[in-house]
């Protein structure tokens, strides 16, 4: 997935000698997008530097290979252009060849036919060099093996500089030049790019590094972002993901979340404009949640986990910056809520009595997915005494009745985040997710007389036409979504009510992560 392994492995090789041998194909196939490569002449290509003791050690072997291959050996040298003497080295002082060939260690020896790399040896191994080159005695007088040294392309700070130098043209976004005395974080505030918290300045280096998190091309259009209905490219998502504090491996989740949010069914435009406080709540399912270290356990809806905290923020920054949706402008929320900075969490699948939420919503098992829900801030439901599922469901149902307003019916969906200690009660009783939803729907169904305007000495409520209805459900079909998450201690669950539900407002959207 992370095709730009040079960047992904940044710094790990610095100062350490490495030695490995591998064949072309397994690692190079990870390349994210086709990029121009140096024109390679058929024969042998070696990349060396004088500063590497192993490179100076193998000069006799290179000389033998040059003689045996009748001049088809091309030696690129990263530092001293005269090294190795007498073998007509080609300078690679600008590291273009080394970068394009993704050389991590010197010496590296390539076998090239038809202009393509076919085999690669890294470091010095007398047997391997002899076997690959077919030159008997190529290692005579040399030790059997020596590890190579780090390529200059991996010098501290070099991968970032080379990425900008050689891959920077992939970035199309407008550049904002900073004065030398201008603080870069303050510059982002000045330009209106921040949600109020500091953002990570989106330098080309950081954005290129972020783009290593996806195989999608930077100029691919992900979606159209409201309210300004601007085209949003992978690059724009990556920029905002950098600003939010994401790591490259989060980018596929952010991309899926952005796409899901801008889906017409989810209706990000309306959700942004509303005076209500709701905002996208992102639930992540599948293997990627664990792979990127997301939290589905203790403090699941709180702070402290980088992926949880930054993925939701990245989506909000895309809406703000690409879409132009800002508080006081198109965002007309009366109160808003803290989750509008970003609210994203993982379902605890391992501890769940139920199948993953994404599977319930039609995604194949084992595939990663995001589910977006137009939610308000969460609140707790306390029930520390119920050990029977009927009793516990009654507690949850009573709390669910108050979503939106106590008399509102059909108008609002709800997400119920069942904590592990509550889930245990349902697990022990054999209640499936469907069973729990059905029971809650039954318990939250009331006669129309209880919800009409004026009932209970309250003018709020449903129109008079509801008065005679014997049974009015609180939630529309499919309007109650159950997620399993939270810490293992605490007989609590959490509820998030939705914005206007369904066709008139927003319906949850689940989308696979690619």
């Amino acid at each position: 997935m992370f095709g730009r392994r040079l960047v992904a492995g940044l710094g790990q090789l610095d100062g350490r000698r490495t030695w490995s041998i591998y064949r072309y194909g397994s690692r190079m196939s990870e390349a994210a997008t086709p990029r121009p490569t140096p024109a390679l002449s058929d024969g042998w290509v070696a990349i060396v530097k004088r500063d590497c003791p192993t490179c100076t050690l193998v000069v006799p072997a290179l000389r033998r290979l040059s003689e045996a291959s009748e001049g088809t050996l091309t030696i690129y040298t990263q530092d001293d252009p005269a090294f190795p003497e007498g073998l007509a080295p080609v300078t690679d002082a600008d590291l273009f060849v080394s970068w394009r060939l993704q050389v991590e260690t010197v010496p590296t020896l390539l076998r090239v036919t038809d202009g393509l790399e076919r085999d690669r040896l890294v470091g010095w191994d007398a047997d391997a060099w002899a076997a690959l080159t077919g030159v008997a005695g190529i290692g005579d007088g040399l030790p059997p093996h020596r590890p190579g040294c780090g390529s200059k392309t991996l010098d501290p700070g070099m991968p970032e500089r080379l990425a900008v130098r050689y891959d920077g043209e992939r970035l199309r976004s407008r550049r904002a030049e900073l004065a030398s005395l201008e603080d870069d974080i303050e510059a982002c505030y000045d330009r209106g790019w921040s949600d109020g918290l500091p953002v990570v300045p989106p330098t080309p280096e950081r954005v290129l590094r972020m783009l290593a998190g996806t195989t999608r091309a930077p100029d691919e259009i992900v979606t159209i972002v409201p309210p300004d209905f601007n085209e949003c490219t992978v690059e724009k998502v990556a920029i905002n993901a950098v600003m939010a504090g994401c790591l490259p491996e989060y980018l596929p989740v952010v991309l899926a979340a952005v796409e899901a949010a801008c889906n017409e069914t989810f209706n990000m435009h309306g959700l942004l404009c509303t005076t209500m406080p709701h905002a996208p709540v992102i639930v992540v399912n599948g293997p990627i949640a664990k792979a990127i270290g997301m939290n589905g356990g203790g403090n699941v809806l709180g702070q402290g986990n980088r992926a949880n905290s930054t993925i939701g923020r990245a989506l909000q920054l895309v809406v703000r910056n690409v879409g132009g949706g800002k508080p006081g402008g198109i965002d007309r929320a009366t109160h808003g809520q803290p989750g509008k900075v970003g609210l994203c969490f993982a379902e605890d699948e391992d501890g769940s009595p139920w199948e993953p939420l994404s599977v319930t919503r039609g995604i194949e098992p084992g595939r990663s997915a995001v589910t977006l829900f137009a939610g308000e801030g969460p609140r707790v439901v306390v029930d520390q005494l119920s050990r029977r599922p009927e009793s516990l469901a009654r507690s949850l149902a009573d709390a669910l009745l108050t979503v939106g307003s106590a008399k509102a019916v059909i108008a609002f969906d709800a997400m119920l985040v069942v904590g592990p200690e509550h889930a245990r009660v349902f697990r022990d009783a054999g209640w499936t997710r469907d069973r729990l939803v059905a029971e809650l729907n039954t318990m939250t169904t009331r006669p129309g007389s209880a919800v009409v305007r004026g009932a209970g000495d309250c003018d709020e409520g449903m129109p008079e036409g509801f008065a005679g209805a014997p049974a009015v459900p609180k939630f529309r079909p499919g309007g109650l979504m159950i997620v399993h998450a939270g810490g293992t201690a605490g007989l609590f669950s959490a509820i998030m009510g939705s914005w206007a539900a369904g066709e008139i407002g927003s319906a949850p959207v689940t989308m696979g992560v690619n």
Partner: protein, 98 residues
């Protein structure tokens, strides 16, 4: 004077780029008294003569004057110079022509 060199720093615009990248004009001053006015010499001949006279007139009206010069009239003012002017002065007068 200590001379420092900085690598140019750029950020990538995270917006939909529907608005101009340049800032909008600041509100016009209602007077120069008590204000700091920057005078920018673009390094064209006799620009300094014009600006010296302008400085005398501005100071007579109670303004503080800061003088700046950009290295060459053929190129935009360096961003550091623009930033310094913006941070020190309420307004700038640029002597544009010969």
């Amino acid at each position: 004077m200590e001379i420092q060199t900085f690598e140019p720093r750029t950020l990538l615009d995270p917006t939909g780029e529907q608005t101009p990248g340049h800032r909008e004009l600041s509100a016009r001053l209602d007077g120069v008294g008590g204000r700091t006015i920057a005078l920018l010499d673009i390094s064209k001949a006799r620009g300094d003569v014009y600006l010296d006279e302008l400085a005398r007139l501005l100071e007579a009206r109670g303004a503080a004057v800061e003088l700046f010069r950009k290295p060459t009239f053929t190129k935009n003012a360096p961003i550091d110079l623009r930033h310094e002017i913006a941070s020190k002065a309420h307004a700038v007068v640029e002597a544009l022509a010969d």
